[in-house]
């Protein structure tokens, strides 16, 4: 009898798993297929689920988004209308790359200092926890002072403004998580390098950085993803010149009825880079997102 109840248990288990997988993937599938639909196929009833069977796929929306005069050369020339997605993609790439590199560069320096040297007046752990606490600051709280600051400096709608705003998220994260990676590297390796006559910089370059490289790269990638996906700062601090892709996608419904096929295309374009990057560093994601509290 036990075997029957075991079998039933297994079947139920697999059913639950199948339903969950469907629930996770179906909305994404829906967005991607919608981007290949003709306007008439978007809201048919019953909904057209299967390409070639229930609707004829078309690349119209993708063509409108990607192929347009000026889309490939002179990124900023692709002003309004079709092909403008490149302007926003370029902005997102600039802001996300620079903010993540700056965050992780400066953050790793601080992390190394905190991991290897002793600060007498303040305890290292207190400094580290102070930095970590900044990661939880809601963007809604600091966005108004930043808005005022950049308005006064006439820096609204520029790359530096948005990069600085994104560093407030990336830097505390990088300091905290890189400190954990440095603490895990045995100190003895560096000490033996010093004995062999290496300077601090040489020891860093030849020994420490190669060891923490996977952690370093995964931290850069996570900071990149945070920045790529961020929207509230972009909404307050940019208008057009420095506007990033989430702002383009979010603004798609502001003028008239939503053009779902176009929105689906933009959404698909926006989500591709973060998902691909996340897959590349998936081993480190749980650790990163839990600030090292859970080792995935």
């Amino acid at each position: 009898m036990a075997s029957i109840s075991q079998k039933v248990g297994r079947i139920i288990t697999y059913w639950i798993l199948a339903v969950s997988a469907f629930a996770i993937l179906f909305p994404v599938y829906w967005t991607i297929t919608t981007s290949f639909k003709d306007p008439v196929d978007v809201f048919t009833y019953p909904p057209a689920l299967i390409p070639y069977v229930q609707f004829k796929p078309t690349i119209d929306a993708w063509q409108r988004a990607l192929i347009a005069p000026g889309a490939w050369w002179g990124l900023s020339l692709a002003a309004h209308g079709s092909g403008e997605v490149f302007h926003y993609l370029f902005n997102s790439a600039v802001v996300a790359s620079l903010s993540s590199l700056l965050s992780v560069g400066l953050g790793s320096m601080a992390a190394y200092g905190l991991a290897r040297f002793e600060f007498k007046r303040w305890k290292n752990r207190d400094i580290a926890f102070f930095v970590l606490s900044q990661r939880f600051l809601p963007p809604a709280v600091i966005v108004i002072p930043l808005f005022v600051l950049f308005k006064t400096l006439q820096m609204l709608d520029t790359y530096p403004a948005l990069i600085i705003a994104h560093i407030t998220m990336g830097l505390p994260f990088a300091v905290w998580i890189m400190r954990e990676y440095f603490l895990e590297t045995p100190k003895e390796l560096e000490e033996s390098a010093y004995i062999d006559g290496c300077s601090i910089l040489q020891a860093l370059r030849r020994i420490v950085i190669p060891i923490v490289a996977p952690g370093l790269i995964s931290t850069i990638v996570l900071c990149f993803i945070f920045s790529w996906n961020e929207y509230l700062f972009a909404l307050f601090l940019t208008q057009y010149n420095a506007m990033t892709i989430p702002a383009l996608v979010a603004g798609a419904t502001h003028s008239g009825a939503p053009l779902w096929w176009d929105i689906a295309t933009m959404s698909t374009i926006a989500m591709i880079p973060p998902i691909i990057f996340a897959l590349a560093v998936q081993k480190y994601i749980v650790r990163g997102l839990t600030f090292g509290a859970v080792k995935g």
């Binding site: 288990t13 969950s20 629930a23 993937l25 909305p27 994404v28 048919t44 400066l106 953050g107 320096m109 601080a110 190394y112 200092g113 290897r116 040297f117 002793e118 752990r125 400094i127 926890f129 930095v131 900044q134 939880f136 600051l137 809601p138 809604a140 709280v141 600091i142 966005v143 108004i144 002072p145 808005f147 600051l149 560093i167 407030t168 830097l171 505390p172 601090i200 996906n229 509230l232 909404l235 307050f236 989430p246 702002a247 996608v249 979010a250 939503p258 689906a264 933009m266 959404s267 926006a270 989500m271 973060p274 998902i275 996340a278 994601i285 749980v286 997102l289 509290a293 859970v294 995935g296």
Partner: protein, 294 residues
């Protein structure tokens, strides 16, 4: 004398840039925001616009106390956080327990889970807006097979907040699963063997072995999710935008409306500060928990 890097000063050279930047871009705005919370600063109103903030003492907070819309938003935010995180925890724990048994293809599950978590939140919002479409959306169509009548997911104010919760659950339950699964897999085998030898039932094993050993990971997962859920903005902004009848307006959306649309920066700062206080409480709990971890 030439400045030289040595054991004594290199630590300051390493740490100073990060600390100075944090002071400038995180601490300064936080303090300035606190000052603004006690000021009136209206950037609209043509000739009556205030060029500089005018200190008005507790006026903003007096207004805050009487602002029914604000208190309703606080309530909305708290119910959003409690129900999203609660559901994410329950579903996450269930699925993590299932995936922790001998399941084939766990590798592929990790890939599937990453998709909603890493997808741009604005795109998550639009995806669900299409799913939720009342007459022609796929969600109502799929539910019709389960004999569930069509719902006006985003338009009915009794369920609109639940629809927002559902989006957050879709986006972040995978995080909970991955965290709890990592926790489950770090539990050693010995306590289980001992429990089986002692003749414990499955429920008892969960209650007295799994749960206490998983508890620290549960706390981390739930606290981190709650901290993030308090900041919810994107997914609501592009779907219901706080409506219908303000039933899904989280505090962050109110800050955006007062701050960016009405350009009433003093009052917006006061509202934002209440959000900060809610988040600080949770942050302190999280940090003291991390400290104890050692």
């Amino acid at each position: 004398m030439r400045f030289r890097l040595n054991e004594k000063n290199i630590k300051f050279v390493l740490v100073a840039p990060a600390i100075v930047i944090l002071l400038a871009v995180a601490i300064y705005p936080t303090v300035f925001s606190l000052y603004l919370a006690f000021c009136s600063w209206e950037l609209t109103g043509g000739p009556y616009a205030q060029i500089v903030p005018v200190f008005t003492g507790l006026k903003n907070f007096e207004r805050l106390l009487q602002d029914h819309r604000f208190w309703r938003d606080v309530q909305t935010t708290v119910s959003f956080v409690v129900s999203s995180v609660g559901l994410e925890f329950l579903i996450g724990l269930g699925l993590a327990l299932i995936l922790n048994t001998e399941i084939r293809g766990r590798k592929y599950w990790r890939v599937i889970f990453l998709v909603p978590m890493m997808m741009t939140p604005v795109a998550v919002g639009y995806t669900w807006r299409m799913m939720y479409h009342m007459e022609r959306g796929p969600l109502n169509y799929l539910l019709s097979f389960l004999f569930i009548p069509a719902q006006n997911w985003m338009g009915d104010r009794t369920i609109a907040l639940f629809s927002c919760v559902l989006m957050d659950v879709w986006e972040w339950t995978p995080f909970m699963i991955l965290v709890l699964l990592a926790g489950l897999q770090s539990i050693p085998v010995e306590p289980y063997e001992a429990a089986i030898v002692d003749g414990a039932s499955k429920v008892q094993i969960f209650r007295y072995v799994t749960f206490p050993l998983l508890y620290p990971v549960i706390v981390v997962g739930v606290l981190l999710r709650a901290l993030e859920a308090f900041k919810v903005f994107d997914i609501i902004y592009v779907t219901t935008a706080g409506g219908p009848a303000l039933s899904t307006e989280a505090v962050t959306l109110y800050v955006q409306i007062i701050g960016l649309r009405e350009l009433s920066l003093g009052y917006a700062s006061a509202v934002a500060y209440v959000l900060l206080i809610m988040v600080i409480a949770l942050t302190l709990i999280f940090i003291s928990w991390m400290r104890r971890r050692g």
